[in-house]
Symmetry: none
Subunit: 248 residues, 2 copies
DNA sequence: TGTTTGTTTGCGTTTTTGTGCCGACATTAA
DNA sequence: TTAATGTCGGCACAAAAACGCAAACAAACA
């Protein structure tokens, strides 16, 4: 990775999380902490961030589209970390939108080489930060609620793709009803994704496990892997394990 | 391989991968790294890429989506104000990306009822702020440079639309070469838009009037209306007026 | 045709830059 | 306080860039 690329990446991370640790960055980018420190020093000189003991903070002026506060951010970050490990170089990945998916995008290793198909504007913007990720945006009518594209065109496009893996940000999941939604259009999109992907991964915070909404996307067997912030041994999840789901 | 060929090849690689290494290119093309470096230096001089230690990066990629300060913001706001008046309730509107288009999105009257087709992520996000605007996002491969979707699929979709009006954020315009671009993929998209719309409006700051770039989108007669921050009576614009363009 | 002129390229050599490592020192937390 | 952790400066090494030079080549011209 080139120096400049690295610095852009760092800057992006800083502005995203408002703070970074040298140690973390060093691990992510796989260079010595020394190098990171020097980068931080340079960027600080240019006034692009504020260097502090142990890492750096973002300058206040920096606003971003998704500066909105995310509910249960730490949990989602934890989930994203686990989920990111499922993606390998060269894969075709299909993703929905939602804050958990955004965190997944942020958790991806910077050098990952893969092709991402998405219906989500915000996710696409996150993927853009990764130099080696090719992004295919699936177009159609834009749903202002869900901030994803929905409609027949989008569904048709999704069905044309044979993705290796598909990540679903999940609103509600339980054993009897499976994956459920409360928006018809979103359901259709997710349904299309489930059928197009070899492996279906549902990302959900523990709170939403064992809840249901009105419209079914697919039953519990449509999902292959369930990622939550809980340890896989947790009581709550044993029932899902029994149904043959992989738990992370 | 001729020098020129080599340079176009390099430029192509840069725009494709967002980054190239001198060492790689040297191997691929089988010339010395020295020669590659000289090529990169030339291309960097022409502003077509950014040279860094070890190779080069594409223009724009290293900017983060959100934090960029907009160049000539006041001028662009002025242009946006004028352009917004061209849109009426019920219209089908086609737009590219770029900062001027973003300003246009912000300048739209809040109650406007229309359908917007766009290839730009950032523009789509702006349109979302307007409750009565329906947004159709045109999907395809996402260009990290231009932050718009590009490719055959997108072009085909654009051609299916019969839009009332089309707004082009403009890089360069002059009488003899018409509307020009420096990115092949972007040119294709713009070209598709020009042919699909009843009325073609070019938005450009005065500075870019009477400049040209390498690749032609359409000649001067392909454009119906030119919006700049200057008064329509301005000397600079009289030549365009003579060509039959409406000046705002 | 042969000469001249200018451009382009490759090859050493020297300089600069980027990075990692080490040790002394500073800061933080228990 | 001590122990752990982060920082800073110097050093060393490797990779890349810059520079000068000469060979190769092409174009221009008498």
């Amino acid at each position: 990775m080139l120096k400049k690329e690295r610095q852009t990446y760092i800057l992006h991370q800083v502005n995203l999380h408002n703070r970074v640790l040298s140690a973390d960055l060093s691990q992510e980018i796989k260079v010595s902490e020394d190098t990171i420190r020097r980068d931080l020093a340079e960027l600080a000189d240019q006034g692009k961030l504020i260097k502090v003991h142990g890492g750096a903070l973002s300058q206040g002026y920096h606003f971003s589209v998704h500066a909105q506060q995310v509910y249960a951010l730490d949990e989602k970050k934890c989930i994203a970390q686990k989920a990111a490990k499922l993606i390998q170089d060269g894969m075709f990945v299909l993703t929905t939108g939602g804050t958990t998916i955004i965190e997944l995008a942020r958790a991806l290793p910077p050098e990952l080489k893969a092709t991402f198909f998405t219906v989500s504007l915000t996710a696409a913007i996150e993927y853009m930060q990764h130099p080696n990720i090719e992004i295919i945006l699936i177009g159609d009518k834009l749903s202002k609620n869900a901030q994803i594209t929905v409609g027949g065109e989008a569904q048709a496009k999704i069905k044309q793709i044979k993705a290796d893996i598909c990540f679903l940000g999940t609103n509600a999941i339980d054993i009897t009803h499976g994956l459920t939604e409360n928006d018809w259009e979103v359901m259709q999109i997710k349904k299309a994704m489930v059928t197009s992907a070899q492996k279906v991964v549902a990302l959900t915070i523990a709170e939403k496990v064992n809840t249901a909404q009105r419209i079914q996307v697919c039953d519990i067997h449509g999902i292959h892997t369930l990622v939550t912030e809980l340890a896989p041994e947790s009581q709550v999840l044993s029932a899902y394990k029994k149904q043959g789901l992989e738990i992370l």
